[in-house]
Point group: C2
Chain length 222, copies 2
């Protein structure tokens, strides 16, 4: 039985929730429900079904976690999603700000044949347009990033490697400010009272953004 789009969406949401979580605690039902965009009771019902299929481990009143089978399936959905995004940007010429919505639908219907063809055309890329790592065909996902503009050292050159938000307006803003993955900059100051982070791009432009935004721009020291 191949999983329905619905099942794939639950597994993917669960994977994302688990990844953006320091501890390895179970994901609470409410969070999953919100992520999938469904009423709490609906998530409970669905999770019980997923547990019966062996795709998740479920502890009533505590939360859910992907089983290894579920994690592998989620990784394959993520692989399709990200390869599609890379394809739409590199081959079709769409903007990195608008490909997410299309990928969200296409990820459930592209055949293995087509996805591997895309992968080959793109030269087996390691990351998608947002810097998100592309899982391998066997379901292995590369390790996550470490620092963001909110946590990295001040006054040293860093390179944007990944943006963990898909909002089109935010992505367009970053593009306009030369903050797409690959661009260099340094953090000049942080002001917790003002809730802001002050940046200087390699072109010399000075930009101030909020801490919420800063935490979504991941970097590596360059």
């Amino acid at each position: 039985m191949l999983p329905s789009s619905t099942v794939e969406n639950y597994l993917k949401a669960l994977h994302q929730a688990e990844t953006s979580r320091e501890d390895k605690a179970l994901v609470p039902m409410g969070q999953l429900a919100t992520a999938v965009g469904v009423a709490p009771g609906t998530a409970t019902t669905m999770v019980k079904a997923l547990a019966d299929s062996g795709l998740v481990e479920y502890e009533p009143y505590v939360g859910v976690r992907l089983s290894s089978a579920g994690a592998k399936l989620a990784a394959l959905v993520l692989r399709r999603h990200r390869l599609i995004e890379q394809f739409l940007v590199e081959i079709v010429g769409m903007s990195w700000a608008e490909v997410h919505e299309d990928a969200e639908q296409l990820e459930h219907v592209v055949s293995d044949r087509l996805i591997e063809r895309m992968d080959a055309m793109l030269g087996h890329p390691a990351v998608d347009p947002h810097g998100d790592p592309i899982p391998t065909p066997d379901g292995t996902v590369a390790a996550p990033d470490y620092h963001s503009l909110l946590t990295c050292p001040l006054h040293i050159a860093v390179t944007v490697t990944r943006v963990t938000d898909q909002d089109a307006n935010f992505l367009r803003f970053l593009e306009k400010q030369d903050l797409k993955p690959g661009h260099s900059l340094e953090v000049e100051a942080r002001d917790s009272a003002a809730d802001s982070v002050q940046l200087r791009t390699s072109a010399g432009h000075q930009i101030t953004i909020g801490t919420q935004a800063a935490s979504k721009v991941l970097i590596e020291v360059s």
Copy 2:
């Protein structure tokens, strides 16, 4: 309310059935059910719902026909299907024999944005890899073809323009015999007793095919 994949499939099947039908008689339920791959009763139920939505005209015990609204919707689905096939062959480099299955799924999820981008990349093609006409964005479909290898005059040069069958093996066979759209040949003889048609390709090869197959290869005099 945007139509579901299911509705799109019914409308498309109906469009095909109406097109491959000399008279403008209603399409019988049984034929529609077979085309969609569903039990007869299921088709009846669905058609009544479609009639309530104004997408078809339904006469109990007689058959169904697309309304103008339904015809337009069907044409848009067909447009997406055929542009996707052309894209997969021209840009992605897939075989004309294998793109139909992928297009069958993708046609229901590609966004307008993406489909128009593909259309532009392809230079606004008039036909897909099988020679099927691509409807315009407003739902206009070009006129059909006239002759096939079964009905055209003997001993004159003709060019293959369209193949009205999506079976991968058949398509691969045609490709191997230089009978893809664009290739020239002439019909040397027909033998109704043997149920066969004898061809000679422009390269001089002689091929004999059955009348069923011959009727699916449409041509124009060249």
